[in-house]
Each structure stands twice: as C-alpha cells, then as structure tokens.
Amino acid sequence: MSRTSFVGLCLLPLLITVGLFFVLPVFQLLIVGANSPSGLSAYSAIVTEPRYRQSLIATLVLSVATTLVTVAVATIAGLFLQRNVFPGRAILISILTLPLAFPGVVVGFMIIILGGRQGIVGDLSRAMTGQKVIFAYSIAGLFLGYLYFSIPRVILTIMASIEKLDPQLEEAARSLGAGTWAVHRDVVLPALVPAFIASGAICFATAMGAFGTAFTLAARIDVLAMVIYTEFTLNANIAMAASLSVGLGLITWIALALARSLAGSSVAAAG
C-alpha cells in the first residue's frame, strides 16, 4: 500500500469525526440562531437590545480588566519568584497555584464566604470601622473571583518563560550601561511579550466563558454565559441563546486566533 493511500485511509475517518463532532454542532448553532421567528433578528438583537448589549459590554470589560490585571500581577510576582531564592519559596509557589484545584462554583462560594452578607471581611470591617463591607455580589466580587482563578495559570506560564530567558541578555545590557529599569524595559519585558499574549489570550477566553462563579454569586451583573443560560433554560428563547453563543464564540475565537498569529502555537498549548 503506498504512503499516499494510507494517509487517505486515515484521513477519511478523521474528517468524518471532525465533521460530526466539531463542525456539526457549531453549524447547527448558527442555523438555530438564524431560525428565530423574525429571521436573522436574533443576531442583530445582540447589539440592538439594551439588555444583551450591556451584558456583552460588561463581559468584555470584565474579561479585559481581568486579563490586564492578571498579567501585570503575574509578571511582577513571577519575576520576583523566579529571581530570588529564599526559604519557603517552593511552598509559596504551591500556595499560589492552589486555585487551580477549585472549580468556578467553589471560587464563587469562597468569594461569598469572604465578602458576602455573613462574610469575614464584612465582620472585620464592622469591628474596625463600623461600616460593613460587602463586595461579593457586585462586579468587584466577580472580578476578584476571576483574578483568583486566572493568576495561578498566568503566573506559571510567565515563570516558565522567565526561566527560559538567557541571563546573558541582561548581563549584556548591563555591560552596555543599562540600569535595572532599562534592562527590564528593553530586554526582559520584550522577551516576555509572547508569554503575555499567549497567557493573556487564554485568560481572556476563560473569563469570557466563566459561568460557575457568576452563577454562584448570583451577581447583579449578567455575564454573557449567564444570559445564554437564562435565555435557553428559563425563557426557552433558543434562537437568542444560539446567536449569543455564536457571538461569544466568535469574539473568543478571534482573540485566540490573533494571539496565535502573534505569539505562535504556544497559545493553544498554554490553554
């Protein structure tokens, strides 16, 4: 059997599987979205209907903010942890990665324990200032929850990138007269850009689709994943749910595709 025909033979079942399993659901989603009583209006409703538009904007803002803050925090912490050896460093790193073990629902639950109506932050603040601070059900709680599960992933990716940096690059820059700040601006941070893009894109995609945390918090802001759930399950507005899903998928897919074209295939593998 020639090599070409062998490849063809393998390709056929692969194509069928991909078709059935990966293309069909998305395709069906597109069709369902377009099959609303008023035609394609379900798609246009994403931007025309204030409720959907606000949810889209809120989700985007929240995801972008989470991504930016996560990458910034993770870079500082990653640089510090990778560059300094001190007692307890290994323990600190393993504590930082603890949130990897918890699903979104539990993260939401933790936020309520911290900042909910009976939360310990509220108790502490009342004891200290007389004012009871409750942040769990606001956008602040959601944001904290997102940070909580985003930071560990991004820290680890960035630490791996820092480890791979050639220390002689920094030594060369210093020999040329660059101080600490210039070395970081001109050498270290530029070298980490692919890691920022890769881990940032994954962070953004995760935040865009996060559901468990938002649902548990029953937050006052509706993130897109919750709106989709509500439309589908409670309102039985399947066309709207489908078109919102397509919109959400499209935005995330564009973000991932952009990141991949900028930072190479590491994006996907980091996910």
Binding site: Q168, A172, R174, S175, L176, A191
Partner: protein
C-alpha cells in the same frame, strides 16, 4: 574621534571567590594587566577563568579583602553598568527584539548620545564588522559568525575601557572559528583596547594572547607569553593542556634520560637530579634510520593528517611516544626507527 581611546590598566588584588558554603571557586588571585594588552585566561571548565572574567566585569563580587582596580581607581563596589566595559558572550546575547543597528547602538542610546551621533558611530562599527548591508536585519536572519560580529561591534561601539570576551568563538564551527579569530586579532591590535579573553582552546589562546594566564582548579598555574607557556611549561598540567606533549618518567644519569629504547640527552639545566619527569613536544622529535640514533623504537600506528603525519612509536619509553613528522615521511607499522631530539627540546618538569 576615529582613533580609539586606549583602554585601562587592570589590577586584581587578592581576589578570591567562595559561593555559599561550598569550596572556593577561585583561590586568591593577584594579576596585573597592562593598558592595551590582550590577556587570555586559559583552562579547562571549572578552573575559575570565567569567575575571574566576571569579577573584572562586575558581575561577581570578590570575597572580602579582594580589590579590583581600573587605572588605580578602585571599582570593586561599582556595578557592571558603571564600569564602562564591553562584553562578548559565547551565546552572542544579542537582543532579539532589536535590529542589528539597534543592537550596536544600544550602549550609546543608554548613555544619552544624540540620535544622529549614534547613527554615525553605528555605521562606523558596522563597516568595521563588514556588516554595512545588515543594519536593518533582525537578529534571527544572521548566521552564527555574523551574530558574533554584531556582538563585537556592539561591545566596542561605546568605547569601553576594557573588552571582556567569554569564549566568543566556541559556538562556531572550525573553519569559521579560524577566520573570526584572525579578524578578532586584527581588531584588538587596531583598537589598542585592553582585552581579556576567556577560552579553553589553547590554539586560540596562543594566537590571540600577548600573555596567557593558564588556570587550573581555581588558581593560576602559569602566566607568560605564548612561547614561554609552550616551551617552558611550569608543570605537567600546563605541559599537557597547552599543545600535545610526551611526558616521560625516567631515571637521569650523567645528563641522559635512561629509557627502554636507549638514552636521550637532556639540556644542561638538570644535572643534579636522579629521577626526572621530562616533556617533549611531538614536533620536536625527528624520525631517522635506527642506526643513526641511540634511541630506538617500533612504529605502532601512523595517521596521515595532511600537513603532518602523526606516528606513535612503542618500545622507546614506558608509554608510546607521539611524533608529528613532516607529511613527506613514509614509515610502516612495525618498522624499527631511530628517534632524535635536540637536548634543548627536552624540558624537565617539577615532580
């Protein structure tokens, strides 16, 4: 502006280095390097040569009590970015996010040199490195040899007081290494800069160094000009590390080494000793018909190497004697041959 300023004289005083609680990486070293001199630190890996270089650079601080002086100015506590040194690394260490020209101009930009002046100097440096047409290339479009030229241009662009080179040619293949070595030699002589060059390759050391500092196990084994190191090695380590060497242990009688294959006359220097460790370079031995020599052996192997024939002769001493003979010589395995050494080429080493 075209003529390069002369480099600094460097003095290391009693500089040792201990990492953490482990054994000393470098025993106390005192070393004077003259202005404009090229000194090569030569030794196997782990001998302390790179630690010494990094101390001069300011990347490693000497243990307490050590001092480093540039032109009588104490720079021991100055960080590298204040010392005005140029560095070249084995890994090139070029900034991948900058073009060739940006790399070369980085040291000037950081020093706040006006943009127009940076451009003039960068073009000068690129011309010197033969890379005029590469100014706007990115680093990953360059070959290894081109990268190292850029690294060199970058290191000297800001007119450093000292140029520090850490095995700059090790990553290149043999032919390119030789070409770049020649260029580097010319460049160092024309700049008149003080240069310190670290390598484990004795050929490189001899070709480039005004003086060679041979290091072993964290201390200096010998300092000297290349021919001193080669002809008068201070000890067995230097003899074997620098060039090929036949080391023969034998008893000494009336100025002759007594060997299984006969007697070999030794220069005047060592008539008082009874037992000797003698060193003979392979190219110092001539192969003659057996009747013309008092030292006889039997050819064990021959290997044609182009510019010479390497012959291994047994029975002459307790270990085979290696000879680099002219490539016109024709001997067969098993031939009995006579070996002749000028007495001045037999060097006695300390026991």
């Amino acid at each position: 502006m075209k003529k390069h300023v002369e480099g600094a004289a460097i003095r290391l005083e009693n500089c040792s280095k201990t990492y953490g609680s482990s054994a000393r990486a470098l025993e106390p070293v005192t070393l004077n390097i003259a202005r404009g001199e090229t000194v090569v630190l030569l030794g196997p890996s782990g001998c302390g040569k790179t630690t010494t270089l990094r101390m001069i650079a300011g990347l490693v601080a000497p243990d307490k009590g050590g001092r480093i002086l540039f032109d009588d100015q104490d720079v021991t506590d100055q960080p590298i970015e204040k010392r005005n040194v140029g560095m070249v690394f084995q890994s090139y260490a070029l900034f991948p996010n900058m073009t060739v020209a940006e790399n070369v101009g980085y040291g000037l930009k950081i020093r706040g040199v006006p943009r127009a002046d940076v451009k003039i100097r960068v073009n000068e440096m690129l011309a010197m490195a033969g890379l005029e047409t590469f100014a706007n290339r990115s680093i990953d479009q360059l070959s290894g040899g081109q990268r190292q030229r850029v690294a060199l241009a970058r290191a000297v662009a800001a007119r450093p007081r000292v140029l520090l080179l850490d095995e700059p040619l090790t990553a290149l293949d043999a032919a390119l290494r030789e070409r770049l070595r020649t260029d580097l030699d010319r460049l160092l002589r024309s700049l008149g800069i003080t240069a310190i060059y670290v390598t484990h390759d004795q050929q490189e050391a001899m070709a480039l160094g005004d003086r060679i500092v041979v290091m072993s196990n964290g201390s200096i084994a010998q300092i000297g000009r290349p021919n001193e190191i080669y002809f008068q090695p201070a000890n067995r380590f230097v003899a074997e590390f620098v060039g090929a060497a036949n080391i023969v242990e034998a008893s000494l009688k009336d100025g002759f080494l007594e060997l299984p294959g006969g007697r070999v006359q030794v220069g005047s220097e060592a008539s008082s000793r009874r037992e000797a460790i003698a060193m003979v370079r392979p190219e110092a031995i001539s192969v003659v018909p057996p009747e013309q020599s008092s030292w006889i052996g039997r050819v064990e192997s021959t290997s044609f190497l182009g510019d010479r024939v390497r012959i291994s002769v047994g029975e002459a001493a307790s270990t085979p004697i290696i000879i680099d003979a002219p490539n016109s010589l024709s001997v067969e395995i098993g031939d009995r041959v006579g070996l002749v050494i000028p007495p001045s080429s037999v060097r006695l080493l300390p026991a």
